[in-house]
Amino acid sequence: MRTRQGSFSLEEAIMRRLATVFFIVSLAIFVLLLPQGKAALKNDGFPQGGSLNYGEYGRPATLDPITSNDMISLRISELIFNGLVGIDEKQEIVPDLAERWDISDDSLTYTFYLRQDVTWHAKEGEEPRPFTADDVIFTYNIMMHPQTITPLKVRYEFIESVVKVDDYTVQLTLKRPILNGLAKFSFKIIPQHGPENHEFLTREDPFVHKPIGTGPYMLKNITADGEVILVANENYYRGRPHLDKILARPFADQNIMSQALMFNAIDMIVLVNPRDIPQIQGDKRLVLQPYNALSYSFFGYNVRNPLLADKRVRQAITYAVNRQEMLGSFFNGQGTIISGPFAPGSWAYNLDVEPLPFEPQKAISLLEEAGFTKGDDGIMQRDGKKLSLALKVPIEKESEGVKRVVLAFQNYLGKIGVEIKGEFKEWLAWKEDVFLKHDFDVVFAS
């Protein structure tokens, strides 16, 4: 399956991976995040108090829901903020900051009636302020401001306007009806009195590192070691959460993080190194809870490159790479070879497209069919031009597994006479090269 996305084509996705470890205490967290009344929380049988100390591979770039673009940040901002609507564990839309809503018959106007019992986390030395329609308008405006750096902007371009009807009613008008429109309004609301700059939000604004929200947990502080400490919001509108404190501890090394778990230094990790799975699974103190990450890694080709514009060349590259072997060797078999940009658990996964198998001989035949012959240096060439490609990989996602994948990719392709020059680049520089300059031949990304 080939899907055009931006300037390059997504060739067959290579593999899905990830598994997680949760301590039993983490179950309590998820339960308390479900929409329940205060009374239910107090009598739900879960113990009160205590803290959860979990490990993250890396540090969050920011803690607000607008400028953050990594999972570490998003996990924290989920605890600090709320949206107009929420999505529960069954993927059902449930009321959150909006207690109810109306949708016009033409599906163009959404009117949200806001809860009147929600307050913002108190700023130091201040009383908590009430959450109102002004905060919703403010969030939309700052999110859509051209100078705000956020991945959300493009996702909300379908909104024509956001209007305050009264202090607790907002009306959103869409440019066109959209699929699953209501679910889109699960974006997190930030306070009007939060950011220093009221027009746009950048990573320089103190708010992104010390945010206040309406959620079950409040940011207490970030230690010198980068530990993010959250404490229970006593005034949370659904009732105080069970845990007193949540601490997110960053690790620069996945192995050390796993060791910390096994030596009781932390309670939970959210990403397990595949090679640690057998040890963790065999440890009765730990509960291994795999989930479908719905994420995938892929090699994408720049079809602006005339060599790669030839479908046979792209197919040859796919036939030459033993993805099953890579999955088994580097990710302990934790994943699936897929044929497109959707996980097999998605309704959109195309079952008619089977991933291409590993057939290096077929790869060579395809290249020969495309007019390539092997040169003296063992590299395929056509019309005097070598089949030498630049592979760019964002360094932000660099990990032991990714490095091995890149090396293996080079080796597999070397065997059919395709030279791959790998280059790890800082995330923003990678984005600029790929999306703006189109200066790449192949990318490996997730």
Binding site: A19, M71, Q91, A183, Q281, G333, G345, W347
Partner: protein, 490 residues
């Protein structure tokens, strides 16, 4: 899983001198690669020494029985998912929507036993001029089957005689209908052979519909080997019809009856091969146990009891099989009595023991036979609470299956997840496919579609006919999907 343990015991005894192909086949069986197992064992059949024949028959019988069980479970899920999907599709597209959804819904309703509802749906198809004449004939044949099941034989005959049997697809549908209703006097097998001749003459391959109908006939008319060969040459993941709606919407229709036909064919194959295996004195006891299980599984309770009586009296059953045979005997008698015996009597007949595997077998049998078994479930629940879960895999699965039947989906999921291999959660090599199928259904019922679809995706290589469920479930998921579901490149 205990079944693997028992298989290992059989092999210990029977494979010490066995040739490699049998070992290889049974290794595939233990990994739940039943297609691979049957291919290996069947290929060896022609070359095997006479002394190996019995073991081959036993291996094939066990493999086909396992296959039949998988397809039986898949069919149960597929029918309900198909009905959910098509009902939703029809409800969402009232104007200019699908015309063929009514046809496939009617057929599926008929297979669930809802003849009156099926008839309503099928009648509208017959009158719908936007449906091709051939497909309206299919609707007539199905409607006639509904009438026949309602005892309206005259109406059925009128409809059957009104269809154009010069069209091989229509004729095959008619043959399949006769076979399913046990109307052997209408010669469905001869009709099937005639169709194959025609297709050969016009040098056309068999469509999935033709193949499905022929499998129906072969399975029910005792042409097992022909049926097995046809399965091997058919793409079981194919769709039955493609409908274009408006300018660019395409709906593909699949048919869960394929799964039922596979279950019946493999079931009959298991009976045939296990029957042959019982002629080998060395393995007779074990073969009799599996034969009795297969007979019971396919509703032949009297035969099952007769075989078990003989096996238990002969003293040929190795120890673990004796206990299982006694249990099966008790359950079969309970079933034979039409459930008139009390549940306590069932427990008495199974020895009132607390042995987890036997308790699990009792619970599974009760589930299968739809018997009330809350007391047994209570006993099983008590047991799983006090013993380490890993030692009680089958009992957890049996309880999960029980909770699925009682619509307690979260408990069903919890039970089955306890015994799921977390490192290889969707791989059939590490998890019993029967458990995975039931877990997938529990997830589906809980609207956690993604989990269910992942399971089917993992099964597709060994059980390609699972596509008959996948697409319908994707359809339900797409219509139920409430979250944004948009992709983001981090």
């Amino acid at each position: 899983m205990p079944r693997c343990c028992l298989v290992a015991l059989v092999l210990e005894a029977s494979l010490s001198a066995a040739a490699d192909p049998i070992r290889e086949g049974m290794q595939s069986y233990n990994r739940h690669h039943y297609e691979d197992a049957s291919t290996t064992l069947l290929a060896h059949m022609r070359l095997a020494e006479p002394s190996q024949q019995g073991k081959l028959y036993l291996g094939l019988g066990m493999t086909f029985l396992a296959c039949a069980q998988v397809y039986q479970e898949l069919h149960r899920t597929a029918l309900s998912v198909q009905v959910d999907y098509l009902s939703k599709l029809l409800a969402s597209d009232k104007e200019d929507g699908s015309h063929y959804a009514k046809l496939y819904l009617g057929r599926s309703l008929l297979d669930t036993g809802k003849t009156a509802e099926a008839a309503v749906s099928l009648r509208t198809c017959i009158e719908d001029k936007k449906i091709e004449p051939r497909d309206r004939s299919l609707a007539k044949i199905a409607l006639a089957r509904a009438y026949y099941l309602q005892g309206k034989n005259k109406n059925a005959d009128e409809l059957w005689s009104s269809v154009d049997t010069t069209d091989p697809e229509v004729m095959s549908e008619l043959a399949a209908a006769y076979s399913r209703l046990g109307l052997a006097e209408r010669k469905p097998l001869a009709m099937g052979e005639q169709i194959r001749q025609v297709m050969k003459q016009i040098q056309q391959g068999l469509s999935i519909r033709l193949a499905n109908n022929l499998i129906t006939v072969y399975a029910r008319e005792g042409q097992i080997d022909k049926g097995l060969r046809l399965i091997k040459s058919t793409d079981l993941s194919g769709f039955f019809h493609e409908e274009t709606i408006g300018k660019n919407k395409i709906v593909r229709f699949y048919d869960p009856s394929l799964l039922d036909n596979l279950a019946v064919l493999y079931g009959r194959a298991s009976l045939e091969y296990l029957e042959k295996a019982t002629t080998d004195e060395k393995i007779k006891g074990v073969a009799q146990y599996y034969l009795a299980e297969a007979e019971a599984r396919f509703g032949h309770i009297d035969q099952s009891i007769e075989i078990l009586d003989d096996a238990l009296a002969s003293g040929l059953l190795p120890s673990p099989y004796r206990e299982k045979a006694e249990l099966l005997h008790g359950v079969a008698r309970f079933w034979q009595s039409g459930g008139r015996q009390s549940q306590m009597h069932l427990e008495d007949s199974t020895g009132q023991q607390q042995e987890p595997h036997l308790l699990a077998d009792t619970l599974l049998a009760c589930n299968r036979l739809n018997l009330e078994c809350s007391e047994i479930a209570r006993k099983a629940t008590t047991l799983v609470e006090v013993i380490d879960g890993k030692k009680l895999e089958t009992l957890h699965y049996a309880l999960g299956r029980y909770y699925l039947r009682t619509h307690e989906y979260e408990q069903a999921i919890a039970c089955m997840e306890t015994v799921r291999d977390k490192s290889n959660k969707n791989k059939i090599e590490y998890n019993d496919p029967l458990m995975l199928i039931n877990l997938a259904e529990a997830y589906y019922r809980s609207k956690r579609f993604s989990e269910a679809l992942e399971i089917y995706f993992g099964m597709r290589n060994q059980f390609p006919a699972v596509r008959q469920i996948q697409v319908s479930m994707q359809g339900v998921y797409a219509m139920e999907q409430k979250s944004a579901g948009d992709a983001k490149l981090f």
